[in-house]
């Protein structure tokens, strides 16, 4: 877009040098990739969302621009959508708090352990996502010691009060789903946070101290604002995939913790309701894009982009 505008409003055309096409050639592979793996699937998804809802393998699926699909999908799955956003938001918030502390410690306090700690942060990636999540089932098992401890310190009671658990257990509760999301997406939070904290000049923090800012105030007024690019990147990298996640709630949750990702999966594969599945996917995408835009604007990162 920018190039079109530049050309359109550019200066006098008299002695414009011969067009250098290298830039375009460099873009080509990326553009092809985008076309193949984003534009075409996107259209395919959009088309599915506009299918005749009565379509089936028998009758075929026609794009009848049946826009009611959106209304129906939204109405039928509003709970799942709301739940996904809520769980993702809670997991993101938890990730942010835990991730920030961790990233801060690695960036400023780890000294020569820095590299080791970074490796540990990404170490979970060396095993499969599914296996890691499954192992949480063992950790949180009803008869396991984690549950015993949680009961002893009345964590389970507290969780029940805020509706994040039902019964004296941890597994198969919203809490477990959120914990699983938190665990699985934590590295996506820690790494960008670390990258931006690493760049924060400690001399600025000193300057804040010199200018009467207590360590806490100095953090709020200097370190935190300077790490905002990491906060924004980390929250997006966590929130977006967490919203669409369909593994954690299936393995760690129960049927009342169903998130929209699992619903879409089931619509596509079990119910063969492509129209609703497509519409639901598009709705989810629109919600996420809108949320991200509002968020990025609010987070005021204009100078960072």
């Amino acid at each position: 877009m920018a190039t079109v505008d530049d050309v359109a409003t550019g200066g006098p055309p008299e002695h414009r040098p011969r067009r250098n096409l290298t830039g375009y050639w460099l873009i080509l592979p990326g553009a092809l990739w985008l076309l193949l793996f984003f534009v075409i699937p996107f259209y395919s998804l959009l088309a599915a969302s506009l299918f005749d809802p009565d379509g089936s393998v028998l009758t075929g699926y026609d794009v009848t621009f049946h826009v009611q699909n959106f209304g129906n999908a939204f109405w039928d799955y509003k709970e799942q959508i709301g739940r996904s956003l809520l769980y993702a938001a809670l997991a993101t918030a938890t990730c942010l708090v835990l991730g920030y502390v961790l990233a801060y410690a690695i960036a400023f306090k780890a000294g020569r352990w820095k590299n080791l700690m970074l490796v540990l942060v990404i170490a979970p990636f060396f095993t499969s996502f599914l296996l890691r999540t499954l192992s949480w089932k063992l950790i949180l098992a009803d008869d396991g010691w984690v549950v015993d401890v949680a009961q002893a310190i009345h964590l389970t009671d507290a969780l029940q009060l805020v509706n994040l658990a039902d019964g004296d257990r941890l597994l198969a509760t919203p809490f477990a789903v959120i914990a699983g999301l938190t665990y699985n997406f934590l590295p996506f939070m820690v790494l960008p946070l670390y990258a931006s904290l690493e760049k924060v000049d400690v001399r600025l923090i000193e300057a804040a101290g010199d200018l009467y800012a207590s360590p806490a105030r100095g953090f709020l007024k200097v370190t935190l604002p300077l790490s905002m690019p990491g906060v924004v990147a980390g929250t997006l990298l966590t929130f977006i995939p967490a919203t669409g996640d369909y593994v954690n709630d299936q393995l760690l949750g129960n049927t009342n913790t169903r998130m929209v990702g699992a619903s879409i999966q089931s619509l596509f594969t079990k119910e063969n309701d492509y129209a609703t599945a497509g519409a639901l996917s598009v709705i989810l995408m629109v919600i996420i894009v809108a949320a991200v835009m509002v968020y990025v604007r609010k987070a005021g990162t204009e100078e960072l982009v």
């Binding site: 877009m1 409003t9 959009l46 088309a47 089932k137 008869d143 049927t255 619903s263 119910e271």
Partner: protein, 386 residues
Amino acid sequence: MAGMNRRTVLRGGAGLGFLGVSAAVLPLFGTPDQKQDPSRLKVPDRSESDPRLIISNWPEYIDEDDDGYVSTLTQFEKDTGITVRYTADVNDNDEFFSKVRNQLGSGTSTKRDLFALTDWMAARMIQVGWIQKLDASKVPNLHANIIDSLAKPAWDPGRDYSAPWQSGLTGIAYNKAKVDEVRSFSDLVTRPDLKGRVSLLTEMRDTMGFMLLIDGADPEKFTDDEWKQAVERLTKAKKAGQFRSFTGNDYVQDLASGNVLACEAWSGDIANAGDENLVWVPPEEGIMIWADNMMVPNLATHQANAEQWINYYYEPEVAAKLADYNSYICPVKGAQEAMEKVNPDNVENELIFPTEKTLSLTHRFMALDEAKARTYEKDYTDVQRA
């Protein structure tokens, strides 16, 4: 400012263009009806000139050569001179469906001669005309030896298109170290001491089959009212918090670890778990029986070889060897007698050879067309998220 105007116009134009292009392009993403006519998708059989056979089946579903032991497959190859390419690439009915859907739906070859899918998926494929009819004269063993309870499924009453590979039962399992005996499905959905510690299967046909049975309806032939009643009953139990989860293949671990006290379960899973506290019981209301069915897809080039294979596995001795290996219900009459020679310990194994009494209690789920299947699946997922 002219530049500004021009820019706005350009933007607006681009936006409109995008919409226009989208409207024009989107219909291209529709998919045509995928129904096929199998009689028109027959190719000249090359079984004679090209003695090969390409099979897709579920993992760990066939015996293997071991020192001294000649597997049924190797024996088949020896006897017939056919080279079998056997691939265990069916992990999930839906997944396999999406794998072959494009070819079968558009009338092109899947490059397979035989694959095995569970009843409802088999029914669906036969219904859309993706499956070739078997030549009855070439599979005499099938028609002679198939056990009665599997002989006449509603979706292929004459076994003209399909032949069960192995079969299994769906019932109840409970952890006897943790809870009193659970006898009926009704217990499972109502007993207060199980509250919140029960898991059901996400397989609509299994669970809803039992729910229909509780009300005295026949899962193979029920009315919409009966269906509604069954759904309501399940919803009520769900809302009351009776169930902890609805699971796929992964319920045994929860049962063994005590997270779940009792659950809906497949017989083979419990047998294979090797935990003596886990007990599988046939529910009092009845048992759901299912089978994985071998079928020949359209445009298969070695149908005769496939039929030879089916016929071979319906020989009682071969069936006994196979059943001895994988402990599922053997669909072949006479295999129990043949088992004497193969492994006398397994002759009385109820999981391989259920008694007549047990078999008489089995039910299958009604054959559903696409639309009905979707409605029911949706009703069932609605229950799960109620």
